[in-house]
């Protein structure tokens, strides 16, 4: 197995957190998801050179990293907008009006599922159940949940973001 090398480094606190986890996990390969999260938190997405860094850090082939990154919906291979708008489209939110929320977001931002505004401010992703069914419709922006949404509240929320 060829293990790639990388000259990239994360912020010292992040490197220390990874070192700590690699002492506690039974294998270095198992720290791949935590390492990818550290990268995405710092860089905002997962460019190829950083996937190579993750491969070297976890002692796995780059192909494996790409396989993992492409499997999970939350790992971004392209840079999302500063405000990544995730609208739940699953059953409870649909019953409570998710389609109207989506129509509102699409119209306001002028993008469809997977799209990003030209200024890089917003991106839109239609997502599956966020476990907020009792308080739907749910919109998640970056990591923050917004529940019991209406198209009006959604429009106000988007307008309020810098």
């Amino acid at each position: 197995m060829t293990v790639s090398s990388s000259t990239l480094k994360l912020a010292p606190e992040a490197e220390a957190r990874i070192d700590d986890l690699q002492r506690r996990y039974p294998t270095k390969a198992a720290t791949l998801l935590p390492v990818l999260w550290e990268i995405q938190t710092q860089v905002g997405w997962l460019p190829q050179e950083w996937m190579a860094y993750a491969a070297a850090r976890c002692e796995v082939p780059v192909s494996k990293v790409l396989g993992v990154v492409s499997f999970y919906t939350m790992f971004h291979q392209e840079q999302p907008g500063r405000h990544h708008v995730q609208v739940c489209r699953n059953i409870s939110c649909t019953m409570l009006g998710a389609e109207a929320i989506l129509a509102c977001v699409r119209e306001k931002l002028g993008v469809t599922n997977g799209g990003r505004t030209a200024d890089g401010k917003f991106s839109l992703e239609e997502v599956e159940c966020l476990a907020g069914c009792s308080w739907g419709p749910v919109v998640q922006i970056n990591r923050t949940y917004h529940e019991n949404m209406t198209p009006e509240k959604t429009a106000q929320l988007l307008d309020s973001l810098e």
């Binding site: 294998t27 919906t73 790992f75 476990a131 009792s134």
Partner: protein, 420 residues
């Protein structure tokens, strides 16, 4: 009604260690370790309680623990399944937000019982507040000597690692979770070997749901027999039910198992919202067969009554469907979901869920024929039970039950033959 899982939910700042200690959290762990109550006696108490897994499958927790071999010389792992993703279900999320220390206490007692020194807490990637709460709680507990080396001065040590998922429904399946924990794609593995024998990193592993573990401290305090007296004979204890849809007060409710579904909707949830009538309920999360109002009237929320009604308690995510909803459209939404979440390993699932979604897209768009409905039936018959995990069956059940319970809605949308 006895509250076991949600008993501290009304207390201000119940997520903080000082408040949790005042609520009695960790007192049972302390007693187990300091007495000490032998691991096999903890397993025995949980077996006696009849506690069944609350993630969906309902497997007896004590029995699962007793399958762990103690003589392999390998480490033993406990994975807490906090990858709550079953549509309709939002109970674990609220448990973690409100009482993360109860969760940690339950996990540590379980770890002690099975001889585990490292707990992996697998939390779904989207969860923000729950992750911050469990990380803060674990850190507070570590500083207080409750987690880590020499737990509560007992000489026993147990690490607690929070592992964040990254968006994949299938990681809630226990072997998919293990694949993901090991650093891979969340692909389920063929059983046997079962995780209890060969799980994470090839070592004996128990995977337990959040709510299951939260019942353990109460069982240690009051005894397995006391727990078994709550609920019904075959479904002992309490269960947190998530209710969504157009009821007046949706949310999470802890009820004794055997409680009436109609009572829950009418009493706890305040009935349907004004102007909305009950059309159907999917009682156990989106994967289980749908019930019509006459079935809802007699269904009790326990494993046996659900089965007698032709459905499952599952994760107890009660999706209440009102009379304005189009069942074909809702099934289309579910088919899209399962097709999106299929990991792709097994052909019947990868191709079948996508095919079902494409057929339903045709029907929703008014391009479907009667033959398409027949194809949905025969296709799902072939998918059922033909795969490594239950994801394919999790679409088969809604498809077959929607077609059986609401055939007129599907027939009204299709034509005899392909339109010209």
């Amino acid at each position: 009604m006895t509250k076991i899982i949600t008993k501290n939910w009304g207390v201000k700042d119940s997520h903080l260690l000082s408040v949790a200690r005042a609520n009695g959290v960790y007192s049972n762990l302390e007693r187990v370790l300091k007495t000490p109550i032998a691991p096999k006696d903890v397993v025995e108490a949980v077996k006696k309680s009849g506690l069944r897994g609350r993630g969906g499958a309902g497997f007896p927790a004590g029995m699962k623990w007793s399958f762990v071999p103690q003589n392999t010389g390998k480490p033993i792992y406990l994975c807490v399944n906090a990858d709550e993703s079953e549509p309709g279900t939002n109970k674990d999320r609220e448990i973690l937000e409100r009482d993360p220390h109860l969760m940690i206490e339950g996990a540590l007692i379980a770890a002690w019982a099975i001889g585990c020194r490292t707990v992996f807490f697998y939390i779904r990637g989207e969860f923000d507040l729950p992750e911050r709460r469990i990380r803060a709680a674990a850190e507070e507990a570590m500083k207080a000597g409750i987690v880590g080396d020499n737990v509560m001065g007992s000489g026993w040590s147990c690490d607690f690692i929070v592992h964040r998922g990254a968006g994949a429904y299938i990681c809630g399946e226990e072997t998919g979770l293990i694949s993901s924990l090991e650093g891979g794609r969340g692909e389920p593995k063929i059983k046997p070997p079962f995780p209890a024998v060969k799980g994470a990193f090839g070592c004996p592993t128990v995977v337990n749901n959040v709510e299951t573990l939260c019942a353990v401290p109460w069982i240690m305090e009051h005894g397995g027999e006391a727990y078994a007296k709550i609920g019904t004979e075959k479904s002992p204890g309490t269960k947190v039910i998530s209710v969504s849809g157009r009821v007046k007060r949706p949310g999470n409710y802890e009820i004794p198992l055997g409680y009436g579904l109609k009572d829950l909707i009418d009493n706890e949830c305040g009935g349907m919202q004004d102007g909305y009538r009950l059309k159907a309920v999917i009682p156990g999360g989106s994967s289980v067969p749908v019930m019509k109002p006459e079935q809802v009237a007699t269904l009790k929320l326990d494993y046996e009554s659900c089965q007698a009604h032709g459905t499952f308690l599952g994760s107890a995510g009660c999706i209440v469907v009102d009379h304005t909803q189009d069942m074909v459209k809702l099934l289309h939404v579910l088919a899209r979901f399962y097709s999106h979440e299929s990991c792709g390993q097994c052909t019947p699932c990868r191709e079948g869920t996508g095919w079902a979604y494409r057929i339903l897209t045709k029907i929703v768009q008014g391009r479907g024929t009667k033959k398409d409905i027949d194809t949905l039936r025969s296709l799902t018959q072939q998918m059922d039970g033909a795969t490594i995990c239950a994801l394919a069956s999790a679409l088969v059940m809604p498809v077959q039950s929607f077609l059986k319970q609401f055939p007129e809605e599907f027939e009204a949308k299709v034509q005899e033959t392909v339109p010209a």
